[in-house]
């Protein structure tokens, strides 16, 4: 990968963080409507070219130096997406508990990757 660490973190935040939480950002209290569940499934398990968000993130990390993967927020995002993968059957089946947990995971992944990108560009803690 070229372009430096700041661009690498920005790419993780854009290509994975932003899109993985597209549906999750709009999950409210109560029953989650089926179209939103469908979008959540797409975001988590068919994010780009039919690949899971976890696989997209892994592929991007493989393109970057080890310092990117070692970042604490990025490492946490990897772990969270692993947890989301384990929930896939329940999410696809619309099981409320799994849908809510998956949405919470997606939101945290977005926040973690954004936080990492902000730090990399010198704008965050």
């Amino acid at each position: 990968m070229s372009g430096g660490p700041s661009r690498a973190f920005a790419r993780l935040a854009h290509d994975v963080g932003k899109y993985v939480a597209r549906a999750a950002r709009n999950v409210r209290e109560g029953e989650v409507p089926p179209p939103l569940v469908d979008m959540l499934v797409t975001d988590l398990y068919l994010l780009k070219d039919g690949q899971r968000a976890s696989a997209v993130l892994a592929r991007l990390l493989a393109d970057h130096g080890p310092e990117v993967a070692a970042d604490v927020d990025v490492a946490r995002a990897v772990a969270l997406l692993g947890e989301a993968d384990a929930l896939e059957a329940g999410v696809r089946g619309g099981r409320a508990e799994d849908v809510r947990r998956a949405a919470a995971i997606a939101r945290e992944v977005e926040e973690r990757l954004r936080s990492a990108a902000e730090r990399a560009r010198g704008g965050g803690p």
Partner: protein, 148 residues
């Protein structure tokens, strides 16, 4: 033609338009485009009431990107065409917005991106009404587009 206000979406994929159709189609006729050329053709057909723009266009064919790669390479990157391509990909949404403004489109423009404040200030200075929403938060995007 639906008679509703048109929301012009410009992105290198389908995610924004999909999102807009789910969350904004109660107020907008969502029209998705993938390149600057398509977007400019769309505004000649019907003036949009809002613009929803992606920023990075790394899935677009280089020849479809707005901007002169060789000129950018010479001006900014010492002739490095690879870096110029990355620049055009990374900034394509703002370049598209510039082209739309040059074409007379004054509709509010919304990026789903957490621009640093100074960058957003500069975009507003250059392109008028520009809003940035950090995530795909439907309510925040509706507010940014002026929908109550």
């Amino acid at each position: 033609m639906s008679g509703r206000a048109r929301l012009l979406v410009v992105e290198d994929g389908h995610e924004y338009a999909e999102f807009a159709r789910l969350f904004l189609s109660d107020v907008f006729d969502v029209h998705g485009t993938r390149t600057a050329a398509d977007a400019l053709a769309a505004v000649r057909e019907a003036a949009p009431a809002g613009l929803l723009l992606d920023l990075r266009f790394d899935r677009t064919r280089p020849e479809d990107l707005l901007g002169d790669r060789d000129e950018v390479a010479a001006r900014l990157f010492g002739g490095d065409r690879d870096r110029a391509l990355r620049y055009l990909q990374d900034q394509q949404g703002t370049l598209v917005l510039g082209a739309l403004r040059d074409a007379g489109v004054g509709a509010p423009a919304v990026f789903v991106h957490d621009f640093p404040p100074r960058r957003l200030h500069n975009l507003r200075r250059l392109y008028g009404q520009v809003e940035a929403v950090a995530s795909f938060d439907a309510e925040a995007i509706r507010r940014a587009l002026g929908v109550s």
